[in-house]
Amino acid sequence: MVASRVVGPVNEPIELVCRTAFSFGEGASTPEEIVERAAELGFSAVGITDRDGVYGLPRAHRAALACGIRVLPGALLTIAGGPGVALLAQDAGGWSNLTRLLTDARKDTPKGWGQLPLQQLLDRSRGLEAILLGHWTPESTQAMRECFGESLSLALTRRLDSHDVKHWDRMAVLSAATQVPLVATSDAIMHSSSRKPLHDVLTCIRRKCTVDNAGSALAANAMRCLRSPSAMKRMFASAPSALERTHEIAHRCTFSLDDLRYLYPREIVPEGWTPIRWLRHETAIGLEWRYPEGTPAKVTSQVEHELRLIEKLNFSAYFLTVYDAVRFARDRNILCQGRGSAANSAVCFALGITAVDPAHSSLLFERFISEERGEPPDIDVDFEHERREEVLQYVYKRYGRHRAAMVNEVISYRRRSALRDAGKALGLDPDQIDRLAKGVQWFDRNAINEAKLTEAGLNPRDPRVQQTVTMAEALKGMPRHVGIHSGGFTVSDGPLIDLCPIEPASMKGRTVIQWDKDDIDTVGFVKVDLLSLGMLTAIRKGFDMVKEHTGQCLSLASIPADDPGVYDMLCRADTMGVFQIESRAQMSMLPRMQPRCFYDLVIQVSIVRPGPIQGGMVHPYLRRRRGEEPIEYAHPSLEPILKRTLGVPIFQEQVMAMASAVGGFSPGEADALRRAMGAWRKRGTLGPLAEKLMAGMRANGISDAYAQQIRDQIRGFGEYGFPESHAASFARLVYVSAWLKHHYPAAFCAALLNSQPMGFYSPRSLLDDARRHDVDVRPIDIQKSHWDNTLEPTGQRSWAIRLGFRQIKGLPKQAGLRIQTEREAHGTFQSIASLQCRADINRSALATLARADALQSLAANRRHALWAVQGLYDLPLFRGLQRTDDAHLPESTEIDEMREDYRSFGLSLAHNPVGMVRETLTQKGFISAAEVHAVPGGRTVKVAGMVAHRQRPGTAKGVVFMTLEDETGLLNVVIKPHTFERQRKTIVQHNLLEITARVQRDGQSVSLLASRFSPLKAPKPEKLTSRDFR
């Protein structure tokens, strides 16, 4: 839909200068609020002119389309050493000039700033309407007039403050002297005067002061809001020409974001080839590579079918772009895997974008690329997280910085950040704010109650505290700053810089456009997601280790499929470290799900998600799978859609297909439904679509209860839903990582450790798990360890993990690598002094090694090693010289050793804090995690352990899940809301706990329903942390 370019009757003024919340720390209303309010007040158009950026324009544009008014795209530009100017684009050329000016303004300024020399603006005046704000000198105004001519105006504002009279006098004089006409504006920074308190808070946040000492830095009144045309007429009654001028300007500014003409790049095709011919050619080569024995007929016909559709929809260039990035990664041995709506196609398999073999799956291409939807395909490619930057820099180089840029991501205020900033602005003690924010980050998704405030050391009845909470709520959802999207890249045929401003990102070497992923959908840009995934790094490192120790070359595609041993392991929920299915919830589902094939894994990764859980689909699916209830369909037309999932909708695409089949939705409406799912979280409603869906289903004879379930499920997908296409790609990584864990547990664990930080579990838990799988874990040793964790053979096909220097906290990587290199070159070290000299390590790094007990081969024990290290001379001239005086050092106890281990690398191979008090625990009637598995359901037990995780998922209705770990294994603990609230302090503040709980059994799945918590009296390591999640 293209908005009308008419700007209403001549005598109706138009607001030309409005700042939204994308003028960060300044505008107190979102672009939508500004536009909707403008429409409500009766404006036919409104100028959106954010400071040094156009971040909010697409959102304003979308809102304007909905409201039926026009947005005049523009921006306020800061002139170096002077005031500012509001620029509005008259036409596409003007827009191009504006984006280039903004790009230049952002180029060499600190993040969040823009600044441009006046001369640069004068050189790019064509197609732009300029309104001068602030204090311009007659000379500069004259210079502007010479370039902008009739398109220059002086802003006349009426703020009803103490400067108004002087401002009007000054503007009248300047206008008369320079012959530049005046134009009336409110220079609005909020849509309604009710936002004044929020604006004050934003001002304080920006200026790093509090409302109490901000004084006159705050606005004197709330007049800088949108005012109705009639109010404007009243206020500018003495300057009617300034009001008329608003209309003249709006009339000249005919440009709309709809006019942007984005074209996908074409040069990825060699000379003489068309994109589709080149794609066909590369696909054919890929098929030969994938199927050296000959391409199965099913695949050949699938490829042909897909290529025809790709040609018809003109998507070949897009596929080739993704292929180009993937080929680059493959050439450099960077593991990658595609996912997304089109990634699981046979073409993508042939091109190496995905490893999901179409010969072994029956995913339908149409399910991922819809001819009717007519939107670009979505392929996300995950790369190893440690090497993704190489791919990004390749793309920049391939297309040039003026044509390729990453996509921005708007970071909005969340409860925690809102509380922090509002608290600071209202002058609360920083420490109290910190405690409050941390307290609510994880557990408190609902309003902050008195107890939480008291716990943070705040008085809930203090008006200032209440104001902080109110202001934090008002801030929530407002844009805070812009960041960089996790991997979204956009490339264009022509200069991207003519379409959208490009600015340097905080991260060195990256440039970004000013719009985020939703915004580029609005303006029709195509995005390629080049993401990073820690598990790919781990898998590649695992493959490398297997190759080094066995000679076996593995790849994502070559892992033997359908290994029964792997599925047996998964059925036992033995999945710590396995991609996507290692969480407590997934582990509890696996024994019930009993996955036996690849498609079961696709379902497994999708079913423990808010969508299916909120839709109440999990239990029906499990019952049908176990044959406990018949597979039925609410309507015959649903059978082809739901057959693969036993009549239960699990994937996002299924819900959309159901909307079409039984909800009476057209493909366009189904697509609108998909978008609405994503916006559910922000808006909290599906609007008329939900009613239409319910009515459609009712008309098709579907029961209200079932329809209600579907609606709930859509809501769940809004929280976090999984499309089948993503699930299929992830399932592949699930299988590959599980296969590695099953066949090469040592290599798998070492690879995970070498890829940290990633995953759900700490190195301590991963190593404990490996040891439970009979993997010997050997301590860090200066004579044997590398920087990375490595494998040491212990038998024909078994290996031990030798912990690497990377596990030691505070040891510089360079020091670790130097030790490794020196030892490999010249043999083992004979003394601590020779280690210091040969590896050129300072005394501080040596002390770190000594504390980690890595010098055990060179000293009697770690205390003597540390004493010896301290006796070394650190000056270069005296390196290798050692003080020989001896001292009688106390013998260390087990507790000392354990504490030093934890201090040095966060775990202890020899001592477990819980194991150290096991005898006492047993005497007091406590049992171990291993023993719990033999206890019948319903019985009450007492257990003790270290907290590995705490989790309170949104779908669990306030239930908290905890993973408790002792020297024998893990336990899943379930804490009901009332138990949690009653014993919150103990549960949250202590990481060593005694728990009284009832054993719950569901098939092979065992959990504990906790009733009482108390701190465990055991030797506590200095740094014992848990990983807590929402």
Binding site: H163, C209, A217, D434, D885, P890, S892, D896, E900
Partner: protein
């Protein structure tokens, strides 16, 4: 038990450590949960806690928020360093009778050198006297006598006992104490703990040569302390640092003040010379005259600002004594100063409007003499929108804060890099036009308005004055976080030539001020 026999080269120190002094002096009873707090590392942190607060687990170093999380109703009092130091000094005065060689050991202890006190009795008797005295003063203390103050203080603080440590046995007393009792960098302490050395005794057992080079210089000093080799400061007999009193007896009585002024001038020069020697300045001086009949006559003089300028002081004396009638012949002249304070040595800031003309200080000093300091004030503007709150009275001559102070601080940070600031100019830097005569509180007033709600006439002193000219409206609102207000102001030129400032709030009109004609 007569205690040790003191030798010429022997030092013995008595330390009284009052663990609750810091909160006692603030008036917090031990049973009340209260903490003393100060800003440290970006948070208000506990400096001391009452026994009741300590029982709840509150410890020094903990943030206030953490303390309140443990004990929601714990009272927090902000530490006033100067007042605390003054009180500790006062406490030290109280113990002067124990020994003239006494000093404060901030924040909560007093030390006295007792080996050279004639007739002080045995150490045990002395300890008991101090213990009782401290209790009487309301600050129960642990008293320890040792060869050096550090040892005595550490034993008192960590063992919480009264004790006499025999000569040369300080290291034995220190041995069981934790390493934390020694002043040492955290890094060294962590290193020692990693080596299994957890007590001072274990630390002391390390050979000195082994400690040097392995640890920081501060740890080497701590090691010496652990072996009972702490520095023994020389505590000099207390010298009171009070007011100066200068007297000049006259060989012959003088009946004319003019003649007397030469003597007074000489005394003033002596006085300023001594002030310079003590790095002090004064704000008040009293001129005392002893008459031949034995009576006295005294004249108090305020000096306006801290000074030690003899000319300025003499000018003040001349002004004050211009019409003075002597009560009789004077036989002696005395100059007595107030408690002199340290002279900050600041050069007068010639840009400072209050200082650029010396006569202002002179006039203000005269006013201060005549009316008293509470009656002579100046206005300091505050960058605030609420007109009646946009200034505050300060004692005349209070220096304008340079870079500290909340308002100034705010402006400093506000003018720090800020993209919007460049945009808007500096609106808050331009003072708004406000009437010099502000009514406090504003007066309710009747106002006639036209159709546009603009004032046309005001009712003053029983009659209506028409508004000949008006400027406005100016809308001022804000302070929603404390006392919200929303006003519409007008400047109104009245038919009688006066110009007033009116505002309307909640439907009522108020007169807020007048401009000079």
């Amino acid at each position: 038990m007569g205690g040790p026999k003191y030798t010429e080269r022997m030092f013995r120190y008595l330390v009284a450590h009052a663990p609750t002094f810091r909160l006692d002096r603030c008036g917090w009873p031990h049973r009340e949960p209260a903490v003393l707090v100060a800003e440290e590392k970006n948070a208000l942190r506990v400096q001391a806690a009452t026994p009741s607060a300590q029982q709840a687990g509150i410890r020094p170093g903990m943030s206030v928020a953490a303390a309140r999380a443990l004990l929601p109703h714990v009272e927090a009092e902000l530490l006033d360093n100067e007042a605390e130091a003054a009180d500790l000094l006062a406490l030290t005065h109280q113990l002067l009778r124990i020994s003239p060689c006494i000093a404060a050991m901030p924040p909560d202890a007093v030390v006295a050198e007792i080996a050279r006190v004639p007739g002080a009795g045995t150490e045990r008797a002395l300890l008991e006297r101090v213990r009782i005295r401290m209790k009487q003063l309301g600050h129960p203390a642990h008293i320890v006598v040792a060869d050096d103050p550090t040892t005595a203080l550490n034993v008192a603080r960590w063992q919480q006992t009264n004790r006499i440590i025999p000569p040369n046995e300080g290291h034995l007393a220190l041995a069981p104490l934790p390493l934390a009792a020694l002043p040492m960098p955290t890094k060294d302490r962590a290193l020692l703990e990693s080596l299994g050395i957890l007590t001072i005794g274990q630390f002391a057992a390390l050979p000195p040569s082994a400690v040097t080079g392995r640890f920081s210089p501060a740890a080497v000093i701590a090691h010496a302390m652990s072996s009972g080799r702490s520095p023994r400061p020389t505590l000099h007999p207390w010298i009171e640092n009070g007011p100066l009193v200068l007297t000049q007896d006259l060989p012959d009585p003088i009946s004319e003040f003019e003649a007397l002024s030469f003597v007074v001038g000489a005394l003033v020069r002596d006085l300023t010379a001594r002030l310079i020697a003590r790095s002090q300045a004064i704000t008040h001086v009293e001129l005392g005259l002893r008459l031949s009949d034995g009576r006295s006559q005294s004249i108090g003089l305020r000096l306006g600002a801290h000074t030690r300028d003899s000319t300025a002081i003499m000018n003040r004396i001349r002004h004050r004594t211009a019409d003075l009638k002597l009560g009789g012949p004077v036989v002696a002249v005395t100059l007595t100063t107030d408690a002199a304070s340290a002279f900050d040595g600041h050069q007068i800031d010639l840009r400072d409007p209050l200082r650029k003309n010396d006569s202002i200080a002179d006039v203000s000093a005269k006013l201060l003499d005549a009316l008293g300091s509470r009656s002579v004030l100046s206005a300091r503007s505050i960058p605030r929108h609420r007109p009646e709150g946009a200034w505050r009275p300060v004692p005349f001559g209070t220096p304008v804060p340079s870079s500290t102070g909340s308002a100034a601080q705010c402006l400093v940070s506000a003018h720090a890099p800020d993209p919007v600031f460049a945009w808007e100019g500096q609106p808050e830097a331009i003072a708004p036009d406000r009437p010099p005569i502000m009514l406090s509180p504003p007066e309710a007033i009747e106002v006639d308005v036209d159709q546009g709600n603009q004032p046309t006439a005001v009712h003053l002193s029983g009659r209506w004055e028409s508004v000949e000219q008006r400027l406005g409206p100016e809308q001022i609102s804000g302070e929603w976080w404390s006392r919200p207000f929303q006003r519409t102001y007008w400047q109104a030129a009245l038919s009688d030539g006066r110009r007033c400032w009116l505002y309307k709030e909640h439907g009522r009109w108020w007169l807020h001020g007048w401009w000079d004609r």
